[in-house]
Assembly symmetry: C2
Homo-oligomer: 571 residues x 2
Amino acid sequence: MRISKLLMPTLREDPSDAEVISHKLLVRAGLIQKTAVGIYNYLPFGYRVIRKVENIIRAEMNRAGAQEVLLPAVVPAELWRESGRWAKYGKELLRFKDRKEAEYCLGPTHEEVITALARAFVHSYKQLPLNLYQIQTKFRDELRPRFGLMRGREFIMKDAYSFHATQESLDAEYQNMRETYCRIFAACGLQYKVVQADSGNIGGSVSQEFMVLAENGEDALLACPQCAYSANVEAAVSAPPDSRIVAAAQEAVREVSTPDKKTIEEVSVFLKTPPENLLKTLVYYYKVNEKENHIVVLLRGCDQLNEVKLKNYLQADLILPAEDSAVVKITGVEPGFCGPVGLKNVRIIADELVKTISSGVTGANKKDTHLLNVAPGRDFELKETADLRLAQAGEKCPHCGAPLQAIRGIEVGHIFKLGTKYSEAMQAVYLDQNGAAKPFIMGCYGIGVGRTAAAAVEQHFDANGIVWPPALAPYHCVVIPANVQESAQMITAEKIYQELLAAGVEVLLDDREERIGVKLKDMELIGISSRVVIGKALAEGKVEFRLRSSADNELLPADSAAQTILARLQA
Amino acid sequence: MRISKLLMPTLREDPSDAEVISHKLLVRAGLIQKTAVGIYNYLPFGYRVIRKVENIIRAEMNRAGAQEVLLPAVVPAELWRESGRWAKYGKELLRFKDRKEAEYCLGPTHEEVITALARAFVHSYKQLPLNLYQIQTKFRDELRPRFGLMRGREFIMKDAYSFHATQESLDAEYQNMRETYCRIFAACGLQYKVVQADSGNIGGSVSQEFMVLAENGEDALLACPQCAYSANVEAAVSAPPDSRIVAAAQEAVREVSTPDKKTIEEVSVFLKTPPENLLKTLVYYYKVNEKENHIVVLLRGCDQLNEVKLKNYLQADLILPAEDSAVVKITGVEPGFCGPVGLKNVRIIADELVKTISSGVTGANKKDTHLLNVAPGRDFELKETADLRLAQAGEKCPHCGAPLQAIRGIEVGHIFKLGTKYSEAMQAVYLDQNGAAKPFIMGCYGIGVGRTAAAAVEQHFDANGIVWPPALAPYHCVVIPANVQESAQMITAEKIYQELLAAGVEVLLDDREERIGVKLKDMELIGISSRVVIGKALAEGKVEFRLRSSADNELLPADSAAQTILARLQA
């Protein structure tokens, strides 16, 4: 294509609302344009990138045996009522009424629609397994849309849903999708990691995320440098520290005055007790199936609560730190001096490492007072324990024991074993070999299409702009006459351009009447994979070639330049 | 693909809400499924058809030099306020608020978004012309969604918008798009006609529709059998009849009693006057830029008012037949006895053929009374005349005079010369060669993607189901072993299937354990382009081949069947 005919609106300045590299560069390179908060236009070059991502996904999903469908963007409320999510999903679900006052939402994800589809058409185990996918524009009314395509409200997603008669069949398809996703992100030219994840709003038991590794990634991950274990911190587990043999508490519990010492650090310093020996006592509000309650959570002073683990353990729809007034009602004292000893009429849960404390310190449920020599089990009952703490870098890998490392990533894909959550709620059943009605066992598999493109930028850029992986680059070569007024340059440029075009290269001819510096800057900003400049060297029959990913110019004979470029691009 | 692995949910019964062939067949063939009123899932085979239409469109639009973009489905109200359409567009525009109470709509069309885009990025005449298109899911909250994909609420549309510095440039691009659309519909395998059209809600002066000809088409058209003239009845013009020399009225106007004779027919019979000599008097309410008014419209008794022509003539946002009370207020009498003689303080407009009446009959603005010997110009003033009548079959072609014929069609495409309607309202300007700011001159060009698929069905079906034009067929061949238990049949079927697959044919293997009759019925219903049955003839080394569009079986040697089929499909 001739650039003079294209809409290629590069900008000199970063957009004022952009915080991350991909947002800045995608806007400056003229690939996207903001229409409203979290809502973007994909401009011609940007949409070429999007379509490349889509086509890679489509090819691999088809190869994996999934079938493409297209479900509606506007989804009737009744389906979401059937699954129970109409009530549970927060304000991210954009709800509205049509002209006849019927309720709808903009689909942020399509478990309900696809489950209703399978319910209507799949009646026998003979029709299973089945994997249906779509590539579609979705909408989530995020509270704080930001980072350009990274966390928009309207976004393009590939979502797939599989239906099975047996757990083994789901397991096999989950593995098939895992491998398919690996092929997709590899084909996109991205460095990624598959990590253990939390299932969040979608539900189900097992899930993994595909993370594009990038310094400024929104997600904190823990990865083992020695084995394959890696996980989103939301889901990460660390092995308990080496057990130290500690003598059980011999002395009886006694009160100690700790005026104004509220935080773990203050108490630890004041009482000269290491945080590992302190019992952190938190009070949480939680809601399960519309029933509200409170719970006391115990952790070692050195550990942080992982709220996701607590929410999952409680199977709660919502958890929140309790209001101070609730804390006072339950413990008799304000936060800072609470403890488990003597608490009644409240459920208590402890992180599993609380058991390693043999003689600890905790709040006395009395102002400015703590208790010494507290022994779990002796001084308070410890009925429920679970892994509730946030795993941290340096702690031990749960598989091999090596110290975990903190890295950052961008979630571009997520695969879930949903089980029967939706099929049971929506009574979506098939008849098994014995003629018995069984709910479908389901999996679901998502890829953020725009986010994948943005993640590619976060991983592939330099001071001059984007360095697209070739599979995603909007064009692979640009032919640049240094001066369009010089007819010799223009003739050679046109010839090389036509030869590359004929060879099937996605090639641009920069026929604009602009200074060469402006042209080079634009092409580097946009991240065209390579360039060939027809300038002064043409006097010696040479043109200058350079890959975007390289800093070195290569002088090529003008006559055979197209062939050499072709070889370089295919290398 | 092996059919046993596919979702191919054919139905035995027509859906109860389906009135037209394409709706019935698309649902019965398992290509679409209703999710809500006017909202459909595209199932795997149906989405293959949709993608084929999209890819034909995309290829031809790119070839025509248009650039693909993707604009948001959720559009901020402020853009629609700028164009003035937020207030003018009716309830078809689905409006809602987000979690922060900001107003949005689901885009039914994207003139506003694209005009804002051009305003942001196109500053100089050097960047013009420019044609941007998208293929996108749109939403119109139709009052009566019906006919399946033909008039849905959520639908896929290709919309393109062009920007120009001169009218000549717009004219050239309009012609370019006209030719591109012809190529698109021809490539889809459709018989179509380009007709003169009204511009409706979109605006602009010149527009043409692309009509797929079909007996049950929703649109009534008039076409000249001798020249190229054809038009939607909304826009159709007919030449005036041969002028008869009529003596001007000699006698004075006089009243005649016509008790209870209100309709044209009643008065015509009662007074023994042909309808051509009656003056039909209508009163209309209209609204222009929020100002409300009434107008009296005169037609010959034999003609019908074309409301679209009246609305366009008045440049009104809305016109409606006046309430009876308004008629009484303006004329002094109830409808049936109104006439132009003696009317004051009201604007009167007449169809141009009213002038041909020299001595006519009209209401006397007095109950049960008409006037005889009325001469327009003599007995009442005739300031405004225009072509306001509905053209009818049998009337004369405005170009060549041949009698117009009535045909029916389905609107699949519409091209408009918009002019500066949106760019002026939204202050979208560029600098011309003299540095003066000028509003863009715009064109817009739409194709209904799903409707094109549905129109293909309306034009290509038989008693057994759909007969897709090959370019749109979900698959081109199905290999059917008559009995999957017969290993010889299965081995041959598998071999032919693999050979066709290797040759790049979109081929199915019907490996289901079903009776051959069921399999053949399914394939005919869905409209797979051809089938090869491996059955009893295999004993003689033969297989049976048939094109979907033919009633004849061809016996082919099994060994070379794949090659012959390939040749037949390419024929």
